[in-house]
Symmetry: C2
Subunit: 377 residues, 2 copies
């Protein structure tokens, strides 16, 4: 197969190779790849055969250079957060990669310094290594957004522009309030009335949003929330501490937590007191992490529809990179609830505890009162 003299025998075939083989010009081969409908059908066929035989695939670098596009999407990942339950980011990465593939894009990962939200973006942008970014860590109130915006860098945010609701960049987010409302309502439906909240510090927009779902559901049933809430850091230890205090002081029968990490803290407290999640006290987490899925007896958890998020993000990216760019409104998706053992209704309790909606009246024994020590081996 005639090759240009200086080429390695292992070098991938080029347009010129295919062109020669098919007896057409380079440009015709290019058209066969990019604008097949420009060719007469028989030439198209001939070229396609040549492409097939040679195993030709366009050289990415050359194409990128010419078209000023890399078909790469940059995604910054932070160092692993050890000791926490949430793996949202990882699940999202998987979904994003799969969805991007269908859009002909690949995901380029780069490292981030948690303290400097902008590190890494600049280099990739200036070296035209990526076409656009997906920005995820908007919990800080995203300076990336304004910075990237100022640089005219295309990006889509996973997370609302909390600090600037009038921001014009495309974003996709999950309705945390709806999720916590769902979780709380699920518990209320099982007869719980004293449902406690363990969330994050007040300066977290996401935390306050989720919390509002809890209060909304509680107040919707005319139930009080005072004394039932705690705001702490997102660690297992904090969740453990907060739940211990709440159990002592407010006697809740159920917990809704802003994260699986905090929920695991509750499970720690229960274990320490010989109580059983789902039997003595109900617990619901947030994120449906692997932890929630495998910890006995299974942690009920709000599940973010990350696959859908990825789809919407990619959709927004495609709009952004189209000619001319089209940017739609923000997209807010609704999470679901993965119900597991930690909030399963003990049959007897459920019957007893739902005077409002069902027939069975009044026994004021609550799940928490049924706590008893573990049976010995």
């Amino acid at each position: 197969m005639a090759r240009i003299p200086g080429r390695q025998p292992t070098a991938p075939p080029t347009l010129a190779d295919v062109a020669e083989r098919a007896g057409v010009s380079r440009q015709t081969v290019s058209n066969a790849v990019n604008n097949p409908d420009l060719l007469r059908s028989d030439t198209l066929l001939r070229v396609q055969e040549a492409i097939e035989e040679l195993g030709y695939l366009p050289n990415r670098a050359a194409r990128n250079l010419r078209t000023r596009a890399s078909h790469l999407v940059g995604l910054r990942i932070n160092p692993v957060q050890e000791g926490t339950a949430s793996a949202i980011m990882d699940r999202f990465v998987h979904s994003l990669v799969e969805t991007s593939r269908e859009a002909g894009k690949h995901v380029l990962l780069f490292a981030g310094d948690p303290l400097d939200p902008l590190a890494g973006y600049d280099d990739l942008l200036r070296s035209t290594a990526v076409d656009a970014f997906v920005v995820t860590d908007t919990y800080l109130g995203n300076p990336q957004a304004t910075w990237l915006g100022a640089r005219r860098a295309p990006f889509v945010a996973f997370g609302r522009p909390w600090d600037n609701p009038s921001a014009t960049h495309p974003w996709v987010d999950v309705d945390g309030a709806a999720g916590c409302d769902l979780a709380t309502t699920h518990l209320l439906d099982q007869g719980h009335e004293r449902v406690a909240w363990i969330g994050w510090r007040k300066d977290s927009w996401i935390g306050e949003d989720r919390r509002s779902g809890w209060t909304r559901a509680m107040h919707g049933r005319g139930l009080p929330t005072t004394g039932l809430a705690s705001r702490v850091e997102d660690t297992v230890a904090s969740g453990k501490g907060a739940s211990a205090v709440l159990l002592d002081e407010a006697r809740p029968t159920a917990f809704v937590c802003a994260s699986d990490t905090l929920a695991m803290g509750v499970l720690h407290t229960l274990a320490e007191r010989g109580m059983v999640a789902g039997r003595d006290v109900a617990v619901v987490g947030f994120d449906d992490s692997q932890v929630a899925q495998v910890v006995p007896p299974g942690l009920t958890s709000v599940r973010q529809p990350l696959e859908e998020v990825a789809v919407e993000v990619v959709k927004a990216l495609e709009g952004l990179l189209a000619h001319p760019p089209a940017v739609g409104p923000g997209v807010l998706l609704t999470p679901t609830l993965a119900v597991r053992g930690s909030s399963s209704a003990p049959a007897s309790a459920a019957d007893r505890l739902v005077p409002a909606t069902t027939t069975a009246p009044s026994n004021d024994r609550r799940p928490a009162d049924r706590a008893r020590p573990q049976p010995r081996n």
Copy 2:
């Protein structure tokens, strides 16, 4: 500021821009970037100033085209495995990204079909989108290796070439046998004698390797292993079932598991029977997943040194891509043991069974203890 006429005002500066500003030729600017020691110091300075002022960064596509290198490393990720505990891959991805950055490389993710180990590789290779691959899923006995080898595609494997020990490609792996030996010995040191094994089916090389660490440790103390082992699938349910059977039939006082997923199965059985891990029965898992870190009372687990793995992988990559390519021998790293509540010595048992020297089982920095607050859903 002179720009070439047709250029957008927002277009990044090019070599020519910098050259004009510094009053030198393009090639001199190129040298200033790539071979600074070729320039006289004063010209170098002048050029560097111009680069600084214009914010110049070499265009990736052009550089890639010319040098036939993309500085990208391809990594295939499989769809998330729901319902399992292990997140090895994700931790590895993080480490790899960080380490790659220091080597001037970025990580390109692409999606994989678990059933077709080769999907995705071919396209990236033929389109010269990546310089090399990191191959991780070698548990299948890796057809990728031979296939990539045949295509002369540079790659480094995380995982030994089990099916072909004489394979010549570079690889990095973690000594699973040593890890399970460590885990078993840790239990033996606490006075346990009947230590059971729950592992994978016999056709898993990795599983058999890990299992050999358990038998080695047991036989080393003259203890029998018959009847104490079970081989199942890597699911929580399997681990639960296997542990239930073993508890009934072999009365072990401790379990060593081939994965955290299986270990969580054991915890399920214990919970169901009102038994407490670490008090009634000791449990050790493998991978030090997030689950192990947060489940009460903490799951002792063998921790793979993924940071080191990443460093070695990148080192191997650099050798592979050097001119001429240099491929070293395979690297086998030793895991550590993260000791947590599930294997804490019951005081009575330890007193009864062995004068246990107070061991310092792990000088590994224990990440669970370093948990930092960081709200992100």
